[in-house]
Structure formats: structure tokens, C-alpha cells
């Protein structure tokens, strides 16, 4: 009992900041809503009733949340070890595209095809992420920049592939699409009225598995220490390159799974730009940042953020508020969370200022604090 209590206490302490940021974010949104001559209370009411409070909309929200949760975990997997992977989108595209092709073209019986294609997709995602590890080890290239740029590479290559070799000529005529994946690999649905599938359960399993990996495994420990202080890890005998290879490969594989859940669970085929326009990866990144990389936090924050987006569509239909309001609120929350760093910095700076009323002479400037 006590253990649960202290755990809840700690979880509360971690989540306090995001909750405050969320309230502030909603207040910022309210200002804009008032400025557009609408009643913020009514708008928020509509927004939340059309995202969380009715079963239909809730399942809509959860469908959208599925890839976002997994993207958030993919981000956290790399960031916690100190490797800033912002290429989840690219890894997601590569992995899910590979899985889709495998599902369409490999002649295997249903259940086996499901497993084989998912594994192939995750392998593709992790190989794509590993390119960055190799570049970093061989040439010392920046992980941030490489992962970011490879997003575009992945999206354009997929664009080409879906425009020419793998285009379905009998597609919908509006966008470029591949063929539909066989029914035998499509995820089981949890709802009769919309697309909610067992993808959300897979997302929950990913969250729990990640949580377990992070706390209970040697790899989780070593990568966490590498993230905290790479020199400390090296000194203790952790082989940094191995950690980087494993971490980025894992992150890429999880990212691939996010895309696979979206395709196998609700869209059933790859559509050109489907992941970039929905910005799953970036919303997942925001969720990871807001919840301080805590997996359980990522789970709920992702659902909340996708609720905002689903609710945003609803208010666009019923009022003069455009869907971009959801983005405003979401970005404000992220800003307020990152503001915590700013606040800490500011209070430190003020304290220093108080101690040194006048600027000390330059040559003596290196005053140490006690």
C-alpha cells in the first residue's frame, strides 16, 4: 500500500508541471476564442464532448492516439539515452511502407503473413534509424541533423514508390495510394461504427513493455546512465557505441510499429504523405516532451492531444473557430512545459543578480558560488 502511495506521489510530482501547463494552454486558447467573439466555455464544452465524452468520439480519439502514443515512445526511447532522434517520421514511413509492401506481395497464409510483414517493417525502420548511428560513428555527423533530414528522404522515396512502381491504378483517383493490404492482415476492430482497432491495445502493450525495459533491464539502466552522463557510463564499462546502435535501432523499430498500426488498423494502404500531413510523429514528440519522457505520461498526453485535434474538427463544424485552435493550444502547452527550464534559469539569474549588485571587474569575474 505504502509503495503505491509513494509511487503515486512521485508520479504526481512528475505530472504536476504538464497539468499546470495544460491549464495555462487552455487559458491561452480561451483568449483567442474570446477574441473571435465566441464563448470559450461553450467551445471547450463542445470540444471535450466531441472528443472524450461520447463513445463514438472517444473511439475516434483513441484511433488517432494510437500512432501518436507509439511515436511518443519511439522518441522517448532514443532521447532518454541522450540521442536526440527527431527522425521518427522517416523511420515510421520506411517501416510501415516496407510492411505494407510485404503484406501485399508476399504470398503467405494470413496469420503468418501478419507476423512476418510486421517484423519486416520493424526491421526496415530500425535499419533506417541505424544509418544515423553509422554516420555518427564513421564521420561524427550530428544525430539531430541526420535524423531530421532523413525524414524528407524517406517521405520523397515513398512518394516516388507510391507514384510509380507501386501505385494502385484502381485507387481512389484523388491521392496516390498503394493497393489495399489483404483482409487477413487487417487488425481486428473494436468498434462497429468507426476504425478503432486492436492497435490501441498494441500501443498500450508498447507503453508497458517500454516501461518495463526502462526500469528492469540492464540495457535500460545502461542507456539511461548514458543519457544522464556519457562519461559516467563509459567509466563504468558501458560500451557507448553499442548503446547508441541498440537505442536508435529500437527507436526506429518502435516508430515503424506506429506506422504499421495506422495502416493495418485503419487506412489499410499507404497513401502519399499520409504521415507527414497528419504529423503523428511531431505530436508524439510533443507528448514525449510534455510528459518528460515518462511512458505512462506519454500514453495519456497523447490521448489528450489527439482529443484536442478531434474536438478541434468538431468545433470547426459548429462554430467560427477553425481547427487550428487545437494546434494553438497544443503548442502553448508544449511551450509552457519547456518554460519550466526558462523559469529555473530566470530565478537562478535573479539570485545571482541579488548577490552581485554591480558588475564585478572583468578580471575577477569568475566568482564561484559556495
Amino acid at each position: 500500500m505504502d509503495k503505491i502511495k509513494t509511487y503515486l506521489k512521485r508520479f504526481g510530482a512528475i505530472m504536476a508541471q504538464p497539468v499546470i501547463a495544460t491549464i495555462l494552454g487552455l487559458l491561452v486558447g480561451a483568449v483567442f476564442i474570446i477574441a473571435s467573439d465566441e464563448n470559450p466555455i461553450e467551445i471547450y464544452q463542445t470540444m471535450f464532448s466531441r472528443s472524450f465524452l461520447s463513445p463514438y468520439y472517444l473511439s475516434q480519439t483513441l484511433t488517432r492516439a494510437t500512432p501518436i502514443i507509439i511515436c511518443g515512445i519511439a522518441t522517448a526511447a532514443a532521447w532518454r539515452a541522450g540521442y536526440i532522434n527527431i527522425g521518427v517520421e522517416g523511420q515510421m514511413i520506411t517501416g510501415s511502407f516496407a510492411a505494407t509492401l510485404a503484406a501485399i506481395y508476399i504470398p503467405l497464409p494470413g496469420p503468418l503473413l501478419l507476423i512476418v510483414s510486421i517484423l519486416l517493417g520493424m526491421l526496415a525502420g530500425s535499419i533506417y534509424a541505424s544509418i544515423v548511428s553509422v554516420l555518427n560513428m564513421k564521420f561524427g555527423s550530428s544525430i539531430v541533423i541526420c535524423t531530421l533530414m532523413l525524414n524528407y528522404v524517406a517521405n520523397y522515396i515513398a512518394s516516388y514508390l507510391v507514384s510509380y512502381p507501386f501505385m494502385d491504378p484502381y485507387g481512389d483517383g484523388i491521392s496516390l495510394v498503394t493497393q489495399t493490404i489483404p483482409e487477413s492482415v487487417q487488425f481486428v476492430k473494436l468498434s462497429t461504427t468507426n476504425n478503432l482497432s486492436i492497435g490501441i491495445i498494441i500501443a498500450a502493450i508498447v507503453v508497458i513493455a517500454f516501461y518495463f525495459m526502462e526500469r528492469k533491464t540492464v540495457f535500460g539502466y545502461e542507456s539511461k546512465m548514458t543519457g544522464f552522463n556519457p562519461n559516467f557510463a563509459k567509466y563504468g564499462g558501458v560500451f557507448e557505441r553499442k548503446v547508441m546502435l541498440k537505442t536508435l535501432a529500437l527507436s526506429g523499430a518502435i516508430a515503424a510499429l506506429a506506422g504499421i498500426c495506422e495502416i493495418y488498423g485503419s487506412k489499410y494502404r499507404y497513401t502519399d504523405n499520409m504521415f507527414t500531413s497528419a504529423s503523428f510523429a511531431w505530436t508524439g514528440l510533443m507528448a514525449a516532451l510534455i510528459s518528460n519522457l515518462h511512458p505512462i505520461g506519454i500514453f495519456f498526453t497523447s490521448i489528450f492531444l489527439s482529443g484536442l485535434q478531434v474536438g478541434g474538427q468538431a468545433i470547426q463544424r459548429t462554430s467560427s473557430i477553425p481547427i487550428q485552435m487545437a494546434t494553438v493550444i497544443q503548442s502553448s502547452i508544449t511551450l509552457f512545459v519547456s518554460a519550466k527550464l526558462g523559469v529555473q534559469f530566470f530565478s537562478k539569474w535573479r539570485k545571482q543578480k541579488k548577490q552581485e549588485p554591480a558588475k564585478p571587474q572583468e578580471s575577477k569575474g569568475g566568482a564561484e558560488t559556495v
Binding site: 539511461k224 563504468g236 554591480a358 559556495v370
Partner: protein, 501 residues
């Protein structure tokens, strides 16, 4: 009283750095401000020099109340400070550094010739000779300190504060500095010297003020006290002298021959050879920056040496990984506890198991054995009396001495045949220092080999069975405990060659 501090109180957050401290300074007097780390010596001197502002209390100079808001105010009132870490422009000349901030001018331009003259005149007056046209980057540590002193004199200081002035010096330089300080006092300068080295206090000061945990605990005339009493005042209890158990060294544990390492074309280790036996503490004395860091890193696998033999317990370890070397029996208390010894955000359990996590009791099949690991961490914390709040506390929240104790605990409890202890007591208070020294002795008495690398000569001298002196990446001399003497070792530390004085 020339200078008087009355009821000075200064707090940083919850910590009270100075608690209602009062003392005075006479003209021409040398006052030693002594206390352990964190006793509040530095804070009070920074208040005097305008770097910190007191929460309450008053300062009087010649009976007049002083308001010191900044360093410039302090300098205006004739208060100067020679800081522990020198603040000099490396690529400028000695003269330029000394006159900086108050340059002699001719037709509105900097008068370089006059600056050099000023430095020569000052040097002649106070017996602090130095070539004014030398670049600071070419100056030794002792010379740099002389530049700082000249700078303070140039600013016409009547009160000079020395903050741990001997921490960076070798014995011969220390002797010279103490002479300079006495000389300055004779010429009417009033001096405050902050230190925790009691022998120096006895050698140079007229009077001493003792601080403990931010409080004033006493004041003694040097002629009426001794080291024993002062250390009792400082620590709050007596410290018995160390007794060294006789021990015959056993088999060879570490054997290094002709170790060489170059970094970006600069030779750092130039054919260094050392060895350590079972049941022996071998000290490496030397001014920091003479290859100690690289030596440690080559021995532990963090760096790959260019050539040379490194054998641990008879096995060649050059080219082996950190983990392989650790598993062969090499534990390592790192030089810098925050850079290598821990991660500030890691909790105490995570800090405790580093380097063990892959061992069978600590994990199996990639899964951590939580129950065992927690017990293990608790045992370390308990056995080494580390003060902490709770296990989930981040290492960065512990005080320096306590985190150091935990690191020492972790490395010693490896029960390895060989331990590298680099600066094991840097920046920790006397209590923790004694404790750590005792643990190193225990390790030796159990029959393990210890390589002690420290820039604190007294530490090396008191613990080591054998001492090597390192200079410029080479061993310049080797002494047994009986042969070693501060002067001989100090001479070699400065680059002197054996056989010539």
C-alpha cells in the same frame, strides 16, 4: 583595530554560510582564517572583496563604516584579493596583466614602456622579481601567483586577502610565498590568509580565527597555540595520528613499462614505467597536468596508449575495453567525481551499481535483480556512513563529501586486486578525508594494491609505502616511505633532476 567585521550573516537558500561572524584585523598583521571545507571562509572573504553581499552585519575600516557593493568599491577602499584560481590573460604580457584596469597613459594611448617600468619598480620594492615582458602563458604557477600579488599591490591595496594560496604550489614555492607574505606585513600591509593547512598557519600567521559550519568558534594568538589545538577547534574533535601497519609487499599487481601516449601531436606520456605490488599503496606525486589524467585513463581503458606494456595481474590489458579491465580486477576512484564518478540525475541505487550491473548477482539474462541491488546500495550507504535523505534521491543532491564517500564505497567494495584512487579526497572535509584514508589503508592491509594519484603532497606522503614523482609524463624519482622527504620530492615535482640541487 584597522578593519573590523561585525555580526556578518550570509545565507544561500537554506544554508547559513556565515552565522553572525565578528572579527578584526590589525595593521601589519597576518591573520589566518581557518576551517574545513564549507566552514564559510570563502564566503566571508568574498563579502570583504565585494563579490557577495551579506544579509546583515557591518564592516568598519579605520573606525568608519564601509559600504562594499562591488569589487571596485573594495579596491577603492584598499582591499585586494589573490584568488585561488588566477584570473589572468594568457596571451598578454606580465606588465599588461598587472596594469590592466588602471593603465598608464601617454597622449591618451597605453604606455607600454611605463607599464614595464612600474612592474620593475614594484618588483624591486617588494622583492617580487619578474620579467614584465614575459607572456603569462610562459609563466609557471608560482610566477602567476606573483603576478596576481603585484597586481594587488599596483592597485594600492593595504589589506590583501589570500584565498588558499598554497593549494596549487609545490613545497619550494610555498616557502617562498610565505616569505613574501611576511615581508608584505612588515611593510605595513595587513593580510588575511585563508587556508586549511595548519602547518602554514603556524609558520606565517600572527593570529588565527577559526570557523566551523559557518560559525565563529575561536580566536588564538599563534604564539599561544599549537596544531593540535587548532585542528581540534576546526574539526570539533581530536584526530589521532595515523599508525601504519607493517606489511611486506606481495606479488606484482600492476606492471607498466615505457608507456607512451600522444594527443594531437603533443607527447603527454613519455616512456613512463611504474609497478604496484599486493599490499602496497603506491603514490604518484606531481603537479597536476603532468600526465596523471592520461596515465589513469590508459590504465583503465578509457584511452588507448600508443605503445608500452601494461599488465594487470599478469595479463596484458593494453587495448582491452573498460569493462574487460574492470572484470580483470581494476577498480577506479576517478579524479573528477561529477565528470566520471556519477551522474547528477541518477538515484543512489543507480549510482551504486555502476560497473557491477552485468555481474551475475546484479542481473541475469539482461534483467536487473532489483531486490539484491537495492540491498547492495543500502549496504554501501550504511557501511560508509553516507548521509542521504532517501534512495530515490539524485546523486547531485548529496554534498560533495557524501557523494565521494559513495563512490569510494562502490569502488572499494568491488574487492578487486587493484584500485586506482585519483584525488580521493579532493574538496571533502577533514572528517570524510580521514574516513577515506582509513578505507584505503584497509584495502592495502587486506593485501590489495592501491595506486594513489594526488596533487596533495601531504596525502601522498602520509599514505604511500612507495612514492613516484611524475613530471612531464615521466617518472623522475622513486622513494620508499623512509626515504621520502618533502623537499626532495618537491624538487623533483618542479622538474628538477635527481643528483643536482
Amino acid at each position: 583595530m584597522f578593519l573590523e567585521l561585525k555580526n556578518i550573516t550570509k545565507t544561500f537558500g537554506k544554508t547559513v554560510a556565515n552565522d553572525n561572524i565578528s572579527f578584526g584585523l590589525n595593521k601589519g598583521e597576518i591573520l589566518a582564517l581557518i576551517g574545513e571545507n564549507g566552514a564559510g571562509k570563502s564566503t566571508i572573504s568574498k563579502i570583504l572583496y565585494g563579490l557577495n553581499k551579506p544579509d546583515s552585519g557591518e564592516i568598519f575600516l579605520d573606525g568608519k563604516k564601509l559600504k562594499i557593493h562591488s569589487v571596485l568599491d573594495a579596491i577603492d577602499h584598499g582591499i585586494g584579493m589573490v584568488q585561488q584560481h588566477f584570473m589572468l590573460f594568457e596571451s598578454y604580457t606580465v606588465a599588461e596583466n598587472i596594469v590592466y584596469g588602471k593603465e598608464p597613459k601617454k597622449n591618451g594611448f597605453f604606455d607600454r614602456k611605463r607599464a614595464a617600468e612600474i612592474v620593475r619598480e614594484l618588483g624591486d620594492e617588494y622583492g617580487l622579481h619578474i620579467d614584465p615582458d614575459l607572456k603569462v602563458e610562459d609563466c609557471s604557477v608560482g610566477m602567476r601567483q606573483r603576478i596576481e600579488i603585484l597586481k594587488v599591490l599596483y592597485q594600492n591595496a593595504d589589506i590583501i586577502i589570500f584565498d588558499e594560496p598554497t593549494a596549487v604550489l609545490v613545497p619550494q614555492e610555498i616557502e617562498e610565498l610565505l616569505k613574501t607574505i611576511k615581508d608584505l606585513a612588515k611593510r605595513g600591509k595587513s593580510i588575511i590568509i585563508i587556508t586549511h593547512k595548519l602547518q602554514e598557519v603556524m609558520d606565517v600567521a600572527d593570529r588565527t580565527v577559526v570557523l566551523r559550519q559557518g560559525k565563529f568558534v575561536g580566536e588564538r594568538l599563534i604564539s599561544e597555540t599549537d596544531i593540535k589545538e587548532l585542528s581540534y577547534l576546526m574539526v570539533g574533535r581530536g584526530i589521532p595520528p595515523r599508525e601504519v601497519e607493517k606489511k611486506e609487499p606481495g606479488k606484482l599487481v600492476l606492471d607498466v613499462e615505457d608507456l607512451r601516449y600522444k594527443h594531437e601531436g603533443v607527447s603527454i606520456l613519455n616512456g613512463l614505467s611504474i609497478n604496484v605490488h599486493e599490499g602496497e599503496i603506491v603514490g604518484i606525486a606531481g603537479v597536476s597536468g603532468n600526465g596523471q589524467t592520461e596515465l589513469i585513463q590508459c590504465l583503465t581503458g578509457l584511452l588507448k596508449p600508443d605503445s608500452g606494456k601494461v599488465e594487470l595481474c599478469g595479463e596484458d590489458i593494453s587495448g582491452k575495453s573498460v569493462r574487460e579491465i574492470r572484470d580483470l580486477g581494476c577498480a577506479h576512484i576517478p579524479e573528477d567525481r561529477y565528470e566520471f564518478g556519477c551522474a547528477r540525475k541518477a538515484d543512489l541505487e543507480e549510482t551504486s551499481i555502476m560497473g557491477y550491473e552485468h555481474l551475475p548477482e546484479f542481473s541475469s539474462k539482461g534483467l536487473l535483480n532489483e531486490k539484491h541491488n537495492q540491498e547492495f546500495a543500502l549496504n554501501l550507504l550504511d557501511k560508509y556512513s553516507v548521509k542521504y535523505d532517501h534512495m530515490g534521491e539524485p546523486a547531485g543532491a548529496l554534498s560533495g563529501g557524501n557523494i565521494q564517500k559513495l563512490i569510494v564505497a562502490r569502488e572499494i567494495e568491488h574487492n578487486s586486486k587493484f584500485l586506482i584512487a585519483a584525488e580521493p579526497t579532493r574538496g571533502v572535509d577533514i572528517g570524510a578525508q580521514e574516513f577515506i584514508h582509513d578505507r584505503l589503508m584497509d584495502k592495502r592491509n587486506r593485501g590489495d594494491g592501491v595506486l594513489l594519484i594526488s596533487s596533495e603532497l601531504s596525502e601522498v606522503m602520509s599514505l604511500s609505502d612507495r612514492i613516484y614523482v611524475i613530471y612531464d609524463g615521466q617518472i623522475r624519482g622513486e622513494f620508499t616511505r623512509a626515504e621520502a622527504d618533502t623537499n626532495k620530492v618537491g624538487f623533483l615535482m618542479m622538474g628538477g633532476q635527481n643528483g643536482q640541487d
